[in-house]
C-alpha cells in the first residue's frame, strides 16, 4: 500500500468514516494478528486483543502523528492492548523470586528443526505474565526496566519472570524431544 493511500485511509478514520475504518482493519488485520497471537492462549483470544487494539486506534486516531510511520504506532497499540488484556483477565500477582532451577540441556539442532507453529504452541502454554515478559523481551526487544514499566512490576520481578519463562520453555523443548525419541 502506498503512503498516500494510507494517509487517505487515516484521514477518513479521523473523520469517523466507516468505510475507511474497514479498509484499515482489512489492511492491518493479518499484521495485528501476528502480534496478538503470540500473547494470547488461543486464536479467539488473539482476535479479542486485536479488536481491542483497533477500537483504540479508531478512538485515539487524533493522537497519531501523521509524520511518523503508522505501522510502528499500530504495533505499540497492539502490544499494549495484549498486555492490558492479560492484566485484565488473566493476570495473577506474580511474587515469584529468582529460583536457581536446573536448566534443561537441549541441543540447538532440535530447536532449529521445530516449526514456528510448534514454538508458538510452546509459548502459549506459559502462564500469561511469563508469556508476556518472554515476548516483550525476546520478540519486541524491550529492556528489563521497560518491561517492568509496561507490566507494572519491579525490575527484579521482570528479570525473574523472564528467567522462569526461559527455563519452562527449555523443559518443554526437552520433553518434546523425549517424546519424539520414544516415538521412534
Amino acid at each position: 500500500m502506498t503512503k498516500n493511500g494510507l494517509d487517505l485511509i487515516i484521514n477518513g478514520c479521523r473523520q469517523g468514516d466507516r468505510l475507511s475504518q474497514k479498509h484499515l482493519y482489512q489492511q492491518f488485520y493479518q499484521y495485528g494478528m501476528n502480534i496478538s497471537h503470540r500473547y494470547a492462549r488461543t486464536n479467539s483470544e488473539a482476535e479479542e486483543i486485536l479488536n481491542d487494539a483497533f477500537l483504540r486506534v479508531f478512538t485515539k486516531i487524533e493522537m497519531y502523528n501523521i509524520d511518523l510511520p503508522f505501522v510502528t504506532w499500530f504495533h505499540t497499540i497492539v502490544v499494549r492492548s495484549a498486555i492490558n488484556y492479560l492484566k485484565k483477565y488473566e493476570n495473577k500477582p506474580v511474587t515469584t523470586d529468582i529460583e536457581m532451577g536446573h536448566a534443561a540441556i537441549i541441543q540447538e539442532e532440535i530447536l532449529s528443526k521445530m516449526s514456528s507453529d510448534e514454538i508458538v504452541a510452546l509459548v502459549r502454554q506459559l502462564p500469561p505474565s511469563y508469556r508476556a515478559t518472554f515476548n516483550l523481551s525476546v520478540v519486541e526487544g524491550y529492556a528489563h526496566s521497560e518491561i517492568a514499566a509496561i507490566m507494572g512490576v519491579t525490575e527484579g520481578t521482570a528479570r525473574s519472570n523472564l528467567m522462569i519463562a526461559r527455563q519452562k520453555l527449555q523443559k518443554m523443548v526437552s520433553q518434546s524431544k523425549k517424546i519424539v525419541e520414544y516415538g521412534r
Binding site: Y29, M33, H37, N51, L55, L169
Partner: protein, 464 residues
C-alpha cells in the same frame, strides 16, 4: 546452549508471519463493538460538556450577582445621603424631573435645542469681529482688511470679511484641484487604454495557464481515485518491510511537500458549512444597575475556508431586564417627572429586546483535535423592539408606592458595533459539535441608546 542463542532461535521463529485470513464476519463483530463504545462515549461527552457549561454559567452568574450586590450597597449609601438633603435643594439639583405633572417618555428634543444654541453663538462672534474691523480698532485683522481694500479699490470702502475672502480663495483652490484631478484622471485613462492590450494579452496567457493546471489537477485526482480503488483488496504486510517502505515513502512525500508550496487562494477554498443553534446569558456592562438578568437565543452558521478560517454569520435575539434606582444618560432610560412633588423615585425596571445580525471571521486553533479554541471578530447590526419601563415612586409623607408604566418605540437598525469573542469548539460525535463562547459587544462612537453587552453562550452546530 546459551540463553542468548535460545532467545535468538525462539525470537526468529516467533517473528515468522502466519496467515490469518480476513473475513467480513470479523469486521461486523468489531463494528458492533465500536458502535457500543461510541454510544457510551457520546453519553459521557454530553455529560462532560453539559457539566462544564453549567459550571461556567453558574460561575459567571455568581460573578455578576456579586458585582451587583456590591453596587447595590454603594447605591443604598448614596440614596441615604440624598434623603438627608433638604427638599429645596433636591428640586434644584434635578430640574429635569420636576418639569411638569405629565410623564414624559423622551428627552431627545432637549438635546437638539442645545445644539442649535451652539451654532447661533458662533455666528454672533464672527459678526462682532467684522464690526470692530470697520470701526478701526487696533487689530491685526483690521489692518490687513483695510490694506486689502485700499489696494484693490483705492478708497476706504466696505470690504468683505477675511473669512469670506478666504472662502472664495479656498473655492478657487478647490476648483483648481478638481481640474488637476480631472487632468490626472484623463492622463491615467489614456495610459490605461494604452496598457489594455498588454493586460489582455497577459490575461489570455494566465487563462491558458489556469486551463493547463486544472487539467493536471484532474489527472491527479483521477490517479488518487485509482489508488483508493486499489486499496480495497486485503494485502499482507510484513512488519519490517512495511515500516521501511513507510519511512522511505514518508521521506519522499516530505520532499515533495517542501517543493510544492500551495498558493493561499487554493487553501482558502470552501471546505464545508456548519449550522446550528445558540443560547446563553447576556449582561450589560454598567455599574448603575441594582439587578439585571438577560438571555440570548439565535441561529448561527458558518462557511469553512481551509482548515482554520471561517466566515461566521449569526442572528440572535437578546432579552435584557434590569433594575436601577436613578436616571442616568448612560443607562438609556427616559426620565419622567414624579406624580407629585412629594414623590421620590425608588426604582426603574426595564425590559429590552434587541435583534442582532452579526457577520465576522473566526480563526480556530488545534486543527483536527476534539477541543478547538478559537477567536472571533464580527461586525454587528442591531435593532431594538419596543421597550417597557416600570417606574416606582414613593411618597415621602404617606410612604405609599406609585407605579407608572411607560413604553418607548424601538430604535432603527444601527450598525458599527464590534464583537470580539473567545471560545472553544468540542466535537461531541460525528459531525455534531458544541461550543462555549464568551463575547463582548462595543461601539467606538458614543450612541445615546447603546450600552456595551457581554455574553456567555452555548451552542450546537452541525457540519455539512
Amino acid at each position: 546452549m546459551e540463553d542468548k542463542d535460545f532467545d535468538n532461535i525462539f525470537g526468529d521463529k516467533l517473528k515468522k508471519q502466519k496467515d490469518f485470513p480476513f473475513s467480513e464476519q470479523k469486521w461486523t463483530v468489531l463494528e458492533r463493538q465500536y458502535d457500543q463504545l461510541l454510544g457510551e462515549k457520546r453519553y459521557k461527552r454530553l455529560l462532560l460538556f453539559g457539566g462544564i457549561s453549567l459550571l461556567t454559567l453558574l460561575s459567571s452568574l455568581f460573578c455578576i450577582l456579586s458585582l451587583l450586590s456590591d453596587t447595590n450597597k454603594k447605591l443604598d449609601n448614596l440614596t441615604h445621603e440624598i434623603h438627608v438633603l433638604p427638599q429645596e435643594k433636591m428640586s434644584s439639583l434635578t430640574p429635569s424631573v420636576y418639569l411638569g405633572d405629565v410623564p414624559k417618555s423622551d428627552t431627545i428634543f432637549h438635546k437638539i435645542v442645545v445644539y442649535r444654541y451652539d451654532t447661533i453663538y458662533q455666528t454672533v462672534i464672527r459678526r462682532d469681529i467684522f464690526q470692530t474691523n470697520i470701526n478701526g480698532l487696533n487689530n491685526k485683522n483690521q489692518t490687513s482688511i483695510t490694506e486689502n481694500s485700499l489696494d484693490e479699490q483705492g478708497n476706504k470702502k466696505y470690504s468683505a470679511p477675511k473669512s469670506a475672502i478666504i472662502k472664495s480663495d479656498n473655492s478657487t483652490v478647490l476648483d483648481k484641484k478638481a481640474e488637476l484631478i480631472t487632468e490626472k484622471g484623463l492622463k491615467e485613462e489614456q495610459s490605461i487604454s494604452e496598457q489594455i492590450k498588454t493586460i489582455n494579452n497577459k490575461q489570455n496567457d494566465s487563462i491558458n495557464l489556469v486551463k493547463t493546471t486544472s487539467t493536471a489537477k484532474q489527472v491527479d485526482s483521477l490517479s488518487e481515485k485509482a489508488v483508493s480503488v486499489k486499496m480495497i483488496p486485503p494485502l499482507s504486510i510484513n512488519a519490517d518491510s512495511a515500516a521501511k517502505n513507510g519511512e522511505k515513502s514518508f521521506e519522499k512525500e516530505l520532499e515533495k511537500k517542501e517543493d510544492k508550496k500551495r498558493p493561499i487562494i487554493s487553501q482558502l477554498k470552501i471546505k464545508g458549512y456548519e449550522f446550528g443553534i445558540t443560547g446563553g446569558a447576556a449582561f450589560i456592562n454598567n455599574s448603575n444597575f441594582v439587578n439585571q438578568a438577560g438571555y440570548s437565543f439565535g441561529l448561527k452558521g458558518g462557511v469553512l475556508f481551509g482548515r482554520r478560517l471561517q466566515l461566521v454569520g449569526e442572528v440572535q435575539g437578546l432579552n435584557l431586564n434590569f433594575e436601577t434606582q436613578r436616571f442616568s444618560q448612560s443607562l438609556n432610560i427616559p426620565p419622567i417627572s414624579p406624580p407629585t412633588v412629594n414623590d421620590d423615585l425608588r426604582s426603574v425596571n426595564a425590559s429590552q429586546l434587541y435583534w442582532q445580525v452579526a457577520l465576522g471571521l473566526k480563526y480556530q486553533f488545534r486543527d483536527g483535535k476534539r477541543w478547538q479554541p478559537y477567536l472571533n471578530a464580527s461586525v454587528v447590526g442591531q435593532a431594538a423592539s419596543d421597550e417597557e419601563f416600570n417606574y416606582k415612586f414613593i411618597n415621602r409623607l404617606t410612604k405609599e408606592y406609585i407605579n407608572i408604566k411607560s413604553t418607548r418605540k424601538g430604535s432603527e437598525f444601527e450598525t458599527g458595533i464590534l464583537r470580539t469573542s473567545v471560545g472553544v469548539n468540542y466535537r461531541i460525535w460525528g459531525k455534531f459539535q458544541g461550543f462555549l463562547e464568551g463575547g463582548y459587544d462595543f461601539k467606538f462612537d458614543k450612541s445615546p441608546r447603546y450600552m456595551p453587552i457581554g455574553q456567555v453562550k452555548l451552542g450546537l452546530l452541525h457540519r455539512f
